[in-house]
Amino acid sequence: MQVFTGVERPESLSRWRSGVRGRRWAAGLGRWGQALRSPLGLVAATLLGLVLLLAIVGPILWGERADAIDTNALSQGSSSEHWLGTDSLGRDIFYRVLVATRLSVALALLATAIGVAAGVLLGAAPWLLGRRAGRFAVATINVAVAFPALLLVLFFAVIFGVGIRGAVLAVGLGMAPYYARVTSTLVAGVSGRDFVAAARTVGLGRTRILLRHILPNIGEPLIVNATLGAGGALLAFAGLSFLGLGVQAPSYDWGLLLNEGLNGIYVSPAGALAPGVTIVLAGLAFNLTGEVVAKKVGLRTANVRTAYSPVPPATGDEAPAAGRPDPSPVLEVEDLHVTVTGPAGPVTPVRGVSFAIGRGEAVGLVGESGSGKSLTALAVAQLIEAPGRVDARRLEFQGTDLVHTRGRAKGIGRLLGTSLGVVFQDPTTSLNPTMRIGRQLGEVVRRHLGKGWGEARARAVDRLRAARVPAPERRAHQYPHEFSGGMRQRAMIAMAMMGDPALIVADEPTTALDVTVQRQVLRLLQEIRAENHVAVLLISHDITVVGQVCDRVLVMYAGRVVEDLPSSELRTAARHPYTRALLAAVPGMKADRDRPLTIIPGRPVDPAHFPPGCAFADRCPLADDHCRAVDPALTDDGSGRRVACWHAGEPLPVVTEEDSVGVGEAS
């Protein structure tokens, strides 16, 4: 473990404090800044900047001219002297419109501030008050939201009286219910998260949790909503002034100018149009900015254009799988690359995977999260969506080329729909909750084989029975929520078998299940395989699961296959240090409780920064300079076993926690 001397301590402490605030702001501004960099964002930002600039400098530069009364030029039309004409006291309308920006914008912002503040208070009340009183607060919000906002504004304007103060309060409070609803929804979302539960178990009060944990986490969407709302407030305010309920002379805003201009609209249309146009432009500025930011902030991903450079030509550093059990394999993959959008541009988490699956063979794909195993499976099943990209020298399913047709051709869709079954990790989200199980299963044969409903239903029941779902006729009538997790996974497997599959791709099919259910599902997969001669590609992070079910195991690390061996030899003949480390890291039922568990030091490689040499070198006890410089190719030993390691099969030094902490995951 890292030990700190007395000298080091205060320094690291002060660094901790000082850096925090600045970086937090920088991070926040960074995302907003990025959002405004698109063409639309640029327009919105320029417009908003212009409005705000005008609000600040307008009265300073042109305040006097706007108020100057010229009795010689009463109610004139536009001329070279007065571009937009003059009002009934001979004041220049152009300057008055410019100067009115400040009051119009300031009042709109003030009203928005009042609305947001009142809304947040009201919206947070359900959280602060606890269950029973909270329910009352929610009901109050719901009732308030049900009133049209404009009606509320007029109602409050009458109550608070004519004038600036009354109008600001009226618009602010009129908007409050909307923000209250937004806040209470956001609060409800965040308060269900574990960190709020953790804060409660620590004993923090509700107010403190609200201020420290909840509000900072809902701040961003709230500000975006407020920006959108400011545009609305501007319009509402102009409306009130236009009706004579808002700003009163001698003060003036756009609404009042519009009102005055309207009287002379037949004499001098510009006098009425100008304030109208500015109202629209300013409202647009706020709304556009809000929309642009909402789009970016809402997505929560960096705005990086996905410009793919073509995958480098295949270097052929992977030996094709030799010793195939079948001369015509179900699936052949050669030099597969998958490129997806990462936080900082396109990354290629799968870089040159080659393997083949024979008829009826079960192959396991193992690796840590981020190793590219799931992407490999998705690529095989043609489920990588744009802008993700699949490249391969060869990707053949049942002898049909998939990589150059990309599943767009109709024949391919039908081939995949009937011959390739996919089972996902989470059966809760991969079944449509609004459709009966039988209908959902029947869809597959109806779509691809053109069968009628009756036939499709019979097939669904038959497949459910094959997946050992008890009482399949009855269960076919039920909805997914009426199934338990294990039964749902059986239904998924039944769905994968609806056609006449030659290959079932199962992506972590038992990870979400209990051990007893896991055993059942794995057994089912094995039986189906034996009965129907179906090949299985089983993806799992658990090497023991794969070892139990599969004939052959492919171990993936950093987007490559690093070892390929028969699963019967996992325990005895694994040669790659990573495979051996994975096996050792699983705590068995016979692990010595008095000794630390074996661990793999370090972290998996970030797909954005693959090292030039062997990707596992930093975590490998056998690594030397050669490993770090030159990436070992996956080589075949002649018997179908493949390994990518310069030191394959060499004895490993024993690694325990004591040796590795400080250089490993801990630091």
Binding site: F4, V202, Q518, T544, A585, G588, E665
Partner: protein
Amino acid sequence: MSELRFDGVRVRFGTGRGGLIAVDGVDLVVPSGQVVGLVGESGSGKSTLARAAVGLAPVSDGQITVDGAPLRHGGGSRSGRPVQMVFQDPYSSLDPRMTIGDSVAEAIPRRALRGSGARRAEVVRLLDLVGLEAARADAYPGQLSGGQRQRVALARALAAQPDVIIADEITSALDVSIQGTVLNLVRDLQRQLRLSMLFISHNLAVVRYVSDVIAVMYLGRIVEYGPAEDVLGDPRHPYTRDLLAAAPDADTDTLTRIETDPVLRAIADAEPADPHHPPAGCRYHPRCPIGPLVLPERSDCLTIEPATDHPNHAACHYASDVLTAR
């Protein structure tokens, strides 16, 4: 550290027909300085029991005590909370907007340390304890790996100076390679600080590695309880035996030990019982390989709830002769 005791604890969600009794009369003791491993499938109520102990689930009956003193969960108590919990998902249990130093500091009881200097020093000490550098204190959770986040979560739990720590599936969201480092840390901390701990997991091998005592939960009840060696070495409840058989132990190929008997097979493929409608009598009887579905003469399982005065406190009528029946 202290003893955590559950006495007849019952947790009910909702009322009437839609109601669900997630925890039904659980008696469980976490002895001082020991680790009790709690295993069971999802829906067995093990997480609800844990949440009840930290005040996140309502206890409708019975009581939970620490060293004899009932737990109170009034809002914002200043005395700190005697039971702390580490959550399953380290990606959601840390506030993404707060540095990990702030997160840990927040948990330190106000009465314990006054002055920001002392509190910061304590944060550094706690981070050091879980194997994180002091400089990490100004990192945000987003900059840490899952294993490191779980270390922070442990440091935060320790910061509250609890009497008992509850670890709820703390390794199930982690990769195998990282799971080991967290388990080693838990084991080291427990031995170093003599922590009393309730360690919840669905993975028997993981529970076995850290626990002194093991409790097995099924449908809201504890069905077996005893020293780890006894429960794992000589399991008395058929459910415990089933769990053991299903454990992913690489040394034995569990899939080859499948019964060929169609009756046993049908039982093994049966759906887990619905917690909304727990079966009468022994709750395990619809899935039991030594129960009335296989041996019709054992009709008492259908009506009479089994007592727990058997070896390992196994709640099974035939706990004593469970080995001969198979």
